[in-house]
């Protein structure tokens, strides 16, 4: 094997260090001795469970709406597609807190939709899911659209000549073809949803057991007890890394 050029290796190593050192900081400063006790605190477990549940539900929501949206962007020809694609990425550039306010203006008690929806999303677990899905969906849509563009559209044509409607061609041929892309997108989406803070606390508020996810618990713990915040962060980190590693082996690897 040829030696990698130093001009690439040096910035690569620096980049890796930049990403990993903060984690090292967390691990080094963690109060390991008190970790089991803190883990057993009721608030911690409920925040963790809530985080995992809402991130998973948000990912499901993103899959249900995001995959068809990605298909539309990749395959259908309609006026204003460029604009639509740009709009899809808006949550990426929007500060999450602003996203939360925007969600309130739409789904809030006096929001555009919320006022005739009959029920109120803010301060509910459903609200957490909505906030996370809003922020995480672009990751899924972009990943799936990329996979669809990479997949040969003529397979859909071949399916059509064999009698498959567009829907059947999509579900039987296209979806399995881009499954790795969808899985990668879903993982990104789930990870983003799991770490979501700004939109969640703004839109869904913070109430233990109902809307207080791990990132919110970490943020509030920071106000009073740095050690506790580190422990919570490590728990979130450990659980998410374990789940992602397990999924990767099964689906993506």
């Amino acid at each position: 094997m040829r030696r990698a050029p130093l001009a690439l290796v040096i910035p690569a190593v620096l980049g890796l260090a930049f990403l990993v050192l903060p984690l090292v900081g967390l691990v080094v400063r963690a109060p390991w001795a008190s970790l089991p006790r803190r883990l057993a605190e009721p608030g911690v477990v409920s925040a963790l469970v809530l985080s995992l549940q809402t991130a998973t539900l948000a990912t499901v929501l993103c899959l249900v709406f995001g995959v068809p949206l990605a298909w539309l962007l990749a395959r259908a020809d309609f006026p204003g597609r460029r604009l639509v694609r740009a709009l899809v990425t808006v949550p990426l550039v929007l500060p999450p807190v602003v996203g939360g306010v925007a969600l309130l203006l739409v789904f809030g008690r006096r929001g555009l939709v919320g006022s005739w929806l009959g029920f109120s999303l803010p301060f509910t677990t459903a609200g957490v899911v909505v906030a996370e899905a809003f922020v995480a969906m672009p990751f899924l849509v972009i990943a799936v659209e990329g996979a669809l563009r990479g997949a040969d559209a003529r397979y859909e044509e071949a399916a059509a000549t064999l009698g498959a409607s567009r829907w059947v061609a999509f579900t039987r041929v296209t979806l399995p073809l881009v499954a790795p892309g969808i899985a990668a997108g879903a993982v990104l989406c789930w990870a983003r949803a799991l770490g979501e803070f700004g939109a969640t606390i703004t839109f869904a508020g913070n109430f233990p057991g109902r809307t207080q996810t791990m990132p919110l618990a970490v943020y509030l713990a920071l106000e009073t007890d740095l050690q506790s915040a580190i422990v919570l962060s490590l728990i979130l980190l450990g659980v998410s890394v374990a789940i992602l590693a397990a999924l990767r082996d099964r689906w993506i690897g």
């Binding site: 399916a159 059509a160 009698g163």
Partner: protein
């Protein structure tokens, strides 16, 4: 009665396809033409993958132009087969029957039978990437035939195969086409495939039909440079008068036939002889030419000639050595009138 009766008009930017096609049940027609002639566009239009700008498609009396591809009784073998990579060979072939309403079990039974017919028993569970080129071609054929199409379309069915596999696959494809009861249309740029597989040839250039007929009549009397090159002939068009045809300003060829008006003259490269001096004797066509290029052609050398007319001459390496041929050299070319064929344009 003809099973397929189509008038295909497709306008794409800067290109217009306008051809009329008829194919009888049981007949195999080859759509032959150079790249970019519109062959594949015609095939896609028949399959419903490319909307018609104008014209009609009738198959067994049924109008299809506005029918979506999945509702047309048409099977397609794509150039690179497009076997679904995530499905086994069996599931690929069963896909069509399943869509046409068969139960999963029945569809698989039909698929297994088709795989057996194309000689692939035992490979049912292979994924496309585990198949050789020839095997993949046969799975693609089985998949297209498994829906029992009234019209079978094949897009360059042998183009992706290496020379050796091609011979075998061509033979087995010929057999399956012969036993297919519906109409079949092959798109190809390979004259050998066209002549060996099809009952009738339709030659397309620049979006229009330039010649059609059986292989013998087309090779005997090519009507365009493209066809002439395909069948290996020198071809000229000019004004005929008695036994001469004026094919270039101030240059006429003497021919055996008696022709009048617009005429073609064709002769084989092997009919052209080369001489250092002007040849004398017998009624010959002789002209001074410049050698534009020399390259191997089978056991012989093919010499490209410039001059009053462009022509190809085939000579033996021995003759070439004797003549000390080099590019740019001036030389005399000659063709006997009896070796030419002249026919009305």
């Amino acid at each position: 009665m003809s099973t397929l009766d189509a008038h295909l008009v497709v306008g794409l930017d800067g290109f217009r396809l306008d051809i009329r096609l008829t194919v009888d049940a049981g007949q195999v027609v080859a759509l032959l033409g150079p790249n970019g002639a519109g062959k594949t566009t015609a095939l896609r239009a028949l399959a419903g993958l490319q909307p018609l700008t104008d014209g009609h498609i009738r198959l067994g009396g049924r109008a299809l132009a506005r029918v979506p591809p999945e509702k047309r009784p048409i099977g397609v073998v794509f150039q690179d087969y497009l076997l679904f990579p995530h499905m086994s060979a069996l599931d690929n072939v069963a896909f069509g029957p399943r869509r046409r309403g068969l139960s999963k079990r029945d569809a698989r039974a039909v698929a297994a039978a088709w795989l057996a017919r194309v000689g692939l028993s035992g490979l049912e569970s292979r994924k496309p990437r585990e198949l050789s080129g020839g095997q993949a071609q046969r799975v693609a054929l089985a998949r297209a035939l498994a829906v029992d199409p009234a019209l079978l379309l094949l897009d360059e069915p042998l183009a992706a195969l290496d020379a050796r596999t091609r011979v075998d696959t061509r033979a087995s494809l010929h057999q399956h086409l012969a036993s297919h009861e519906g109409a079949a249309l092959i798109v190809t740029h390979d004259p050998l495939d066209a002549m060996m597989l099809a009952d009738r040839l339709v030659v397309v250039e620049d979006g229009g039909i330039v010649q059609e007929g059986d292989a013998a009549s087309i090779t005997a009397q090519p009507r365009t440079d493209y066809i002439a090159r395909l069948v290996g002939l020198n071809l000229y068009r000019g004004k005929g008068s008695g036994h001469t045809v004026a094919v270039a300003p101030g240059f006429a060829l003497t021919v055996a036939e008696n022709v009048a008006g617009d005429s073609f003259v064709a002769f084989a490269p092997s009919a052209v002889s080369l001489h250092p001096e002007r040849p004398s004797g017998s009624p010959r066509n002789a002209w001074q030419a410049i050698i534009a290029g020399i390259h191997r052609h089978g056991d012989n050398l093919r010499v490209q000639l410039d001059g009053p007319i462009a022509a190809a001459a085939d000579i033996t390496p021995a003759a070439a050595a004797q003549l000390r041929l080099v590019a740019g050299q001036a030389i005399w070319a000659a063709v006997k009138a009896t070796e030419t064929r002249a026919y009305p344009a």
